[in-house]
Every structure is written in structure tokens, then in C-alpha cells.
Symmetry: none
Subunit: 226 residues, 2 copies
DNA sequence: CCCGGCTTTGAGGTGGTTCTGAGATTCAGT
DNA sequence: ACTGAATCTCAGAACCACCTCAAAGCCGGG
């Protein structure tokens, strides 16, 4: 059980109506370092999946209110690409095919081994990280597709266009020193004030914490390596 | 248990799931002057390699969570160029080829001689030094890209612009005697005080220790050759 | 058109850096 | 040991890079 106490926004959504099983799943996955939300019927599951962002969803094939398969179909139709692991009570082949056709990324037949469940979730979580365009920044990530930064403590902060551009330039070459003049000429107009870069560094530090961008006095700025 | 030593001097990352072997490797390499972090599975190894900077990585071909080969492939795909030494239990030729194709710089078949391991790591480390812009200064290095000095004891001290310029001029030709007047006219205004160079030599000695810059009375200064 | 967030400017403060100069110290030659 | 020159040490002043932040202009969505 590797609990990665640092890399911590991985968010999971569990759609499971059996309270006992739901509780067990939530506990197990939380024990493995995930933040878990539980929805007890398809209606609530659909709503949560639409309104919040998760790394991975676990969906019971059979759900009250709206069937699990139906929930997944609707989500996919709405453009939600969150990785989905379908849980099915039936070993039936047709059932698995239905799930995958509906847009599931993997399926698991109940009853399952806990180890296998965790392994599958991990695998999907990993795929999520690779496919989203995430640039490591210190201990967090810069989310290229959403223009926001994912901090090591799990917070996600939205960045304005300029903030994002600056942070990206710094993050692409970690450890390198970027001369202030070079940053200024690359990101701003030549007529901009001398201190324009300083100001955005200040904004970024206010949002991300002061440890992220290091000043190298007389030379420029640098992404903190820790 | 991932050991977090401050990766200040030459930093190594060892990805090895066999705790006993991992401990032995870490001890051996630490004894040879390296700072070693250990990751016990591919997941953690990948994360560490992405978030921190190392000189050399040692990667076991077989790893839990994410296979060693897969870890390396992902790292290379993300643009991580850190030198990688692949450890493989199999003498199989195909296996070595796989490793090198995945982006390994060298491979080593278990069981191996400790001397050979250290020699290989040293070789890769030296290559790293060449690519990072490191100029030897006494027993330490002048880090051209970071504008700081890396002392033999592992400390890194920030240098001001003038300190850095002076040290660089001295370091580029080790052993040569640089006349004080030449240094003064090259680095300072003609109107500067006569003793301006002396002052900066003093500052440098205060930061780096007194053994680094040698005075050649009547002529000038020189980098200590040891 | 109005509002709210984003962008940009510029003023004011802080602290590190540069540089001078002067006294203390070391050295070579006598 | 003496002496003048070279060098070391260091405090203080001026300077400059950087930080902080308020305020004004800009721009786009409701």
C-alpha cells in the first residue's frame, strides 16, 4: 500500500447503490490515497459527474433511478471523457460488451479481489494523467488543456491567459534560468513597462505559493525544483 | 519508504522493488559520494523522476505498478533526458535491446560486480556533467546555467553577478595566473578603484572558502589546482 | 450598456549588490 | 628586525533589482 501523501487531487466518483459495498469501496480507495465521492443512484451520479471533475469513475452496471449503463451513455454523449470502470455482477460476455460499447474504459466482474480493483483504478488513473496534458511544476502540475494549475495539496487554481503563458514558459525547461528581458520580449510588447514580468511573477506566487518560482537576482527567474 | 535526501550534490534515483538490493545499492552509491533517492515501484519512480532532477537513474527492468521499461518510455516521451542505467535480471539479448530502444543509456545484467556498477554510474554521471554546463572549480563546480557554485561538500551558494563573472574568468583556465590589472580592465570600469578586484576575491573566498583562489603576490590570482 | 475580471502602469518600499576608501596585515628584500 | 609595497578585511554609502500593490484602462459576456 503505497500512500502517496503528496500527489493529492486524484478524485474518484463511485456510483453504487449497495450501501455496504459503497462504503467498503470508498474506504478502500481512500486508504489508497484517493478522494472519493459516492453517489447512490444514477440520478445523483450523473449530476456529480457533470458538475465536478474526477480522474476516474466506478459505475455499477445496475443502478436505481437511472441505470448505470444509461448514465455512462449520457455522460459520453455530453462529452465527458472521464475514465470509467464498469462494475458488473454478471460474468456474461454480452454485458461486458455493452459496457465497453457505452464508453467504459474497463470493467470488473463482482465479486472481485480488492487488489485487482485497486490495480485497475490505478491503471485508469495513470492513463488519465498521461492523456491530459500535464506539465510537472515543482510537486504539482500545470494543466495545459484547462489553463489551470494543480497544486500538490490538491487545490486547483485557475490562471489567467498571461499568468498561464508565463508559467508554461518557465515550466517547460525546469531548472533553467529565464532572463527577465527574454521573458518580457517573448510574452509582452516591447513597449510594455520594464516591470511587467515582475508583476506577473508576483501574481503567480500569490496564487501558487512563494516556493514555486525562484528569483535569481541579476539574472532572471526559475521554476523551483523542489 | 522513499528516502529523501536532499539531492544537492550528484543525485541518483534508484528504482528497485527488492528492498534488500535497493538498500545495498543506495548504501554503496552513497559511499561513493552520491545522494540517492529510492523508489520501490514504477509509479513512485515515475513521479520522482518527473518532479525532481537527477544526474543518473538506475531502473530495474521489472517493477511493480508500472514496469521499468514502461517507466523509461514514458519519461523519454515527456522529454526527460536524464541518463538511465537499466538493470536486468535476464542475460537475454532481446531484453537489452528493448532497454536501449526504450531510451536507456546503458544496461547492466544482474548479478553484477559492485565495481562495475560504480564504474558505469560514474561514466554516465560524467556525461551528465558535460551536458549540464559545469566548470570544475577546485573540488567543486561552477554551474554556468544556474549561476551558482556547487561546493565539494554539497552546498550550493548563490553568486552575485560580479562574483560570478570573476570566478568564471578564473575557472575557465585553471592553473593560469590572471594579472590583477587584466582582471580589472576586463570586468570593471577604468574608473574603478585599484582594489576592486581584491574586494571581490575577498567576497568569493568568504563564500567558497579560502582554498579556492590563490594569490600570486606581485602578479595576480589563480584557481587552486587541487 | 454595464459589470467584473484581466491587463498594465507606476509609485513606494525593501533588501541585496556594487564600490570606495581606509586601516590592518602580510610579505620580500634589506 | 625594519620598511615599503602589496594585499586583506570590512564598514558604509549609493545604487539598483526586485517586490508589493493600488489604481486605471481594457475587454468581453450578460
Amino acid at each position: 500500500m503505497t500512500q502517496d501523501s503528496r500527489a493529492e487531487p486524484p478524485g474518484l466518483l463511485v456510483m453504487e447503490d449497495d450501501g455496504e459495498l459503497a462504503g467498503m469501496l470508498a474506504g478502500l480507495l481512500r486508504g489508497n490515497g484517493y478522494a472519493v465521492d459516492v453517489a447512490e443512484d444514477g440520478q445523483r451520479g450523473l449530476h456529480l459527474a457533470l458538475s465536478r471533475r474526477y480522474n476516474v469513475m466506478l459505475i455499477d452496471r445496475r443502478l436505481p433511478a437511472i441505470d448505470g449503463l444509461e448514465v455512462l451513455i449520457r455522460l459520453r454523449r455530453r462529452g465527458v471523457t472521464t475514465r470509467a470502470l464498469m462494475l458488473t455482477a454478471l460474468g456474461d460476455l454480452a454485458d461486458r460488451v455493452d459496457g465497453l460499447n457505452a464508453g467504459a474504459d474497463d470493467y470488473l466482474v463482482k465479486p472481485f479481489e480488492v487488489d485487482e480493483l485497486v490495480a485497475r483504478v490505478r491503471a485508469l488513473d495513470r492513463r488519465f494523467l498521461d492523456e491530459a496534458q500535464l506539465v510537472p511544476v515543482g510537486d504539482g502540475f500545470l494543466d495545459m488543456s484547462l489553463h489551470e494549475a494543480a497544486l500538490p495539496d490538491g487545490r486547483r487554481v485557475a490562471l489567467s491567459r498571461r499568468e498561464f503563458e508565463l508559467l508554461r514558459v518557465l515550466a517547460v525547461r525546469p531548472g533553467a534560468i529565464h532572463p527577465r528581458n527574454q521573458l518580457r520580449s517573448r510574452l509582452f510588447e516591447d513597449t510594455s513597462a520594464e516591470s511587467i514580468v515582475d508583476t506577473y511573477v508576483y501574481y503567480l506566487r500569490r496564487k501558487l505559493g512563494s516556493g514555486v518560482i525562484r528569483t535569481v537576482r541579476g539574472f532572471g527567474y526559475q521554476i523551483g525544483t523542489l
